[in-house]
């Protein structure tokens, strides 16, 4: 039951994030969406790893095209 709740909560989180991105752009004061992404250094970086520190996330369109 507990596991089911966790899964449901996670699904809701994804659904909310998806709805959010199409509905409105993130604004200052909004919680930054969590992430766990593989880095070019071979490590997985999670936003939560950097709690207590500022984080800059610079999105760019495509590698090797003037990135």
């Amino acid at each position: 039951m507990k596991a089911l709740l966790v899964v449901a909560a996670a699904a809701l989180g994804v659904a909310t994030a998806t709805a959010r991105s199409s509905a409105a752009d993130l604004q200052p004061g909004d919680p930054a969406p969590a992430f766990a992404l593989m880095g070019s250094d071979g490590k997985t970086h999670r936003l939560s790893d950097y709690a207590g520190k500022a984080v800059v996330l610079a999105w760019f369109p495509k590698a090797f095209t003037g990135g």
């Binding site: 969406p33 500022a54 999105w59 760019f60």
Partner: protein, 109 residues
């Protein structure tokens, strides 16, 4: 060019208590090779299933690529600022300037 600029301004960015990343929807192997080609001294993150890009609202209308937007996130996990008009050639120094304007703590202070 943006990623190269971030490398060139690494010292002034690292003066702040900040973790900084490039990010795209390219796969991890592509970004590893890209980072090597730039001699990048910071990680470039890969979001090949585009779920995080969607959550940040950065996907282009066709859903194929991320837009060139930079997010500044505070120590509390909340968005401090979003730069939606990033200039690739000056991106690195612009990040350092913005961190100063936002009052992000400098290291050792």
């Amino acid at each position: 060019m943006e990623c190269k600029s971030l490398r060139e301004s690494g010292d002034s960015i690292r003066a702040f208590d900040v973790a900084y990343f490039g990010a795209s929807v390219d796969d991890a192997d592509t970004n590893r090779r890209f980072a090597e080609s730039l001699d990048a001294d910071y990680p470039i993150l890969s979001d090949p299933d585009k779920s995080v890009a969607a959550a940040y609202g950065v996907l282009n209308p066709a859903g194929t690529h991320a837009r060139r937007w930079t997010f500044y996130i505070g120590p509390d996990g909340k968005i401090l600022a979003v730069d939606r008009e990033v200039s690739p050639p000056s991106a690195g120094e612009d990040v350092a300037t913005k961190l100063g304007e936002l009052g992000v703590t400098k290291k050792g202070k």
